[in-house]
């Protein structure tokens, strides 16, 4: 705890917490203060996240690859730790980019569609960052709850029957998942006597054989809780409905919420079963099969739907499935491709959710929603709304811009060249094909699933796109303001960016995947030397 950079690790949790608390104190009425606070907070978060990625990446030269922040400066093993490594830095950066996009988009009008949008968004970011940074299982549970509580609010934001219906299912499913999480965590504590992920991994080899089976069962229960979040088949039927019903900026943030489950699986599974211990690769086959079935289910859902929001919700399923199937392969090279895919698909899906709202508005669907909510809130909003509509700067060539953005989203999601989606799928498949002539059934299935899901996505998106842009006679174009299209273009620009800069980005992902597949580094970084050495094989 010497230099200020050591304390930077906790900033992604503290900054939104303070900003959110100040907003609640300031009250819902003071819009200018709230807007400035929110903007300052997400901008600060973005800078902090960039700095953290820099820190995590340069730490490669240092002896320990992970930066550990012991809360309260208690000695290791007593302290609850925050751990910064490349993976958590990457996820925090993704979260803050989405935070900026959703916030800027909401400035146009969505933050007025219901109460407390800004504080909810801040607490949501806090929960996400906390879940990505923590190195303790129970703390992970707490941050899961912290990120779920505002997400219930965000799903319901804007009110209306569809949201209340979807929100009730979302809430019930996630409450049940939290209970499973608790059962898993307490079983692990009862058997292994620790809740620190690193300590658990270190002790895992020392467990008695009869306890080991129980701990594996406990981790499987935890895994079910994570997979429910990720929306894996058959636990993910709630996901498309809830995401489709949520308002656009909320849905953009929610698109990374499903990746929290994937992150937790990636972190815990590789930490505990990634090495060459007694139960290495436990459940890998299951992850792989579940992932592929989810891809299949998601592809059928994409094909079956006519409505754009549900299409976006279904593509969240496809992306979760692809990630889990790739992680389940248990090869470092495939994992690095999966990480690249994660970044690319999160950006594209968030952009798609934002874009859909703009497109649907032309078909008077969005207008209905606003009318309903305006009625619900009362007429006080009326005046501000109108004066605002006058002053907003509309963009020229609305149809062209929206159409091109939709095309770009479709290319990334379907995995067609020249955008990042193609590179991502290629990066997942290339190591499998390069590994030799003897491709197993699993490899072929993954290959087929990835290619066919891309085909399904492009068919569905072409159909919906034609319907929205070409075949809607007499559609009066709604005014789309710069502030609304800017986040969409920004996210798509980032997709182009990671395509152009694929070399450095892939190098980062490869280093990340390598260190994930060598959990000893993580354990040695978090635990005191005496403890970590004992676990060394």
């Amino acid at each position: 705890m010497s230099s200020w950079t050591d304390h930077l690790v906790i900033a992604p949790i503290v900054v939104p917490l303070i900003a959110g608390a100040l907003m609640v104190l300031a009250g819902e009425g003071r819009r200018t203060i709230n807007n400035i606070l929110a903007l300052a907070s997400v901008a600060g978060l973005l800078l902090v996240a960039l700095a953290l990625v820099g820190l995590a990446d340069t730490a490669a030269q240092a002896p320990s690859q992970t930066r550990v922040y012991r809360l309260g400066d208690w000695p290791a093993l007593f302290a609850i730790v925050l751990v910064l490594d490349r993976l958590s830095a990457l996820m925090v950066l993704l979260t803050s980019v989405l935070g900026v996009a959703a916030l800027v988009f909401s400035f146009a009008r969505w933050y007025r569609a219901g109460a407390y949008f800004h504080p909810l968004l801040q607490f949501q970011l806090m929960g996400l960052n906390g879940a990505f940074l923590t190195g303790d299982l129970f703390n992970l549970f707490v941050f899961f709850e912290v990120l779920l509580a505002p997400s219930y609010g965000l799903v319901l934001h804007g009110s209306g029957i569809a949201r209340a219906r979807a929100g009730l299912h979302y809430l019930a499913v996630n409450l049940a998942a939290s209970l499973l999480f608790l059962i898993g965590v307490s079983m692990i504590y009862g058997l292994a006597g620790t809740l620190s992920m690193a300590d658990l991994a270190a002790r895992f080899g020392e467990l008695r054989a009869e306890d080991r089976a129980l701990v594996e069962a406990a981790i499987a229960i935890l895994g079910v809780a994570f997979l429910i979040k990720a929306g894996i088949w058959p636990l993910g039927f709630w996901l498309p409905t809830a995401y489709a019903a949520a308002s656009a900026p909320s849905a953009a943030i929610l698109s990374i919420l499903s990746k929290v489950g994937v992150y937790a699986v990636l972190r815990l599974w590789l930490l505990l079963f990634g090495g060459d211990g007694a139960s290495a690769g436990f459940g890998g086959g299951f992850l792989m099969i579940a992932g592929i079935v989810t891809i299949a289910f998601g592809s059928f859902a994409v094909l079956a739907t006519q409505s754009m929001p549900r299409l976006a919700g279904a593509s969240v399923l496809v992306s979760s499935g692809t990630l889990l199937a790739a992680i389940g392969m248990g090869q470092a090279a495939v994992t690095s491709g999966a990480l690249y895919y994660l970044v690319s698909s999160v950006f594209a899906i968030a952009a798609l959710f934002l874009l859909i709202e703009l497109v649907e508005r032309s078909r008077e669907v969005g207008a209905d929603v606003i009318a309903v909510t305006r009625e619900a809130i009362g007429d006080v909003e009326e005046e501000a709304e109108q004066s605002d509509e006058e002053t907003g700067i509309a963009i020229p060539g609305t149809m062209a811009v929206l159409g091109m953005s939709f095309l770009a989203c479709a290319l990334v999601l379907a995995g067609l060249p020249p955008l990042s989606g193609f590179l991502a799928k290629f990066a997942i498949l290339a190591p499998l094909l390069a590994s030799g002539a003897d491709l197993g059934a699993a490899d072929w299935t993954l290959l087929a699933a990835l290619v066919l899901s891309g085909l399904a996505t492009i068919i569905a998106m072409t159909r919906v796109g034609i319907d929205a842009f070409w075949a809607s006679p007499g559609a009066t174009l709604a005014r789309v303001r710069v502030i609304e299209i800017a986040p969409v273009l920004g996210l798509l620009f980032l997709c182009v960016g990671i395509t152009v800069k694929a070399g450095p980005v892939m190098r980062y992902m490869e280093t990340t995947a390598r260190s994930l597949h060598a959990p000893q580094e993580y354990i040695r970084g978090v635990l005191p030397p005496s403890r970590a050495e004992r676990s060394a094989p």
Partner: protein, 114 residues
């Protein structure tokens, strides 16, 4: 004592799961509450079931788990109780909102067609 606790957890879980799968929102929330109780007792029991163990450190008694009750599950269960309490309250609000918006207490917001 183990048998009683195990039976209690089992009964709470069984009734909770059954109620959770019912179509009325009120049954669902009661089911979730029962499940929460079951899970809380389960967490509490992971510290080992003992009577008469010291809850806090005392002068002259070595601070190990042979003499004392394990404090970690107690801390965990407190956190779990607070969180589940808050989320249950949130669920209640949503339940009432849905009832107000749709006029029915079915979980899907509409009665099943006969």
């Amino acid at each position: 004592m183990e048998l009683i606790v195990a039976l209690g957890i089992g009964m709470l879980t069984g009734s909770g799961v059954w109620l959770l799968l019912r179509p009325r929102t009120f049954e669902v929330i009661v089911g979730l509450s029962l499940l929460t109780y079951a899970v809380n007792i389960f967490i509490f029991s992971t510290g080992g079931l003992r009577s008469g163990a010291l809850p806090v450190l005392e002068r002259g008694v070595a601070g190990d788990l042979a003499q004392h009750a394990d404090p970690v599950p107690q801390a965990l269960v407190l956190t779990a109780i607070v969180i589940s309490f808050a989320t249950t309250a949130l669920f209640l609000v949503l339940l009432l909102a849905l009832r107000g918006l749709t006029g029915t207490d079915h979980v899907d917001g509409r009665e099943r067609e006969e």
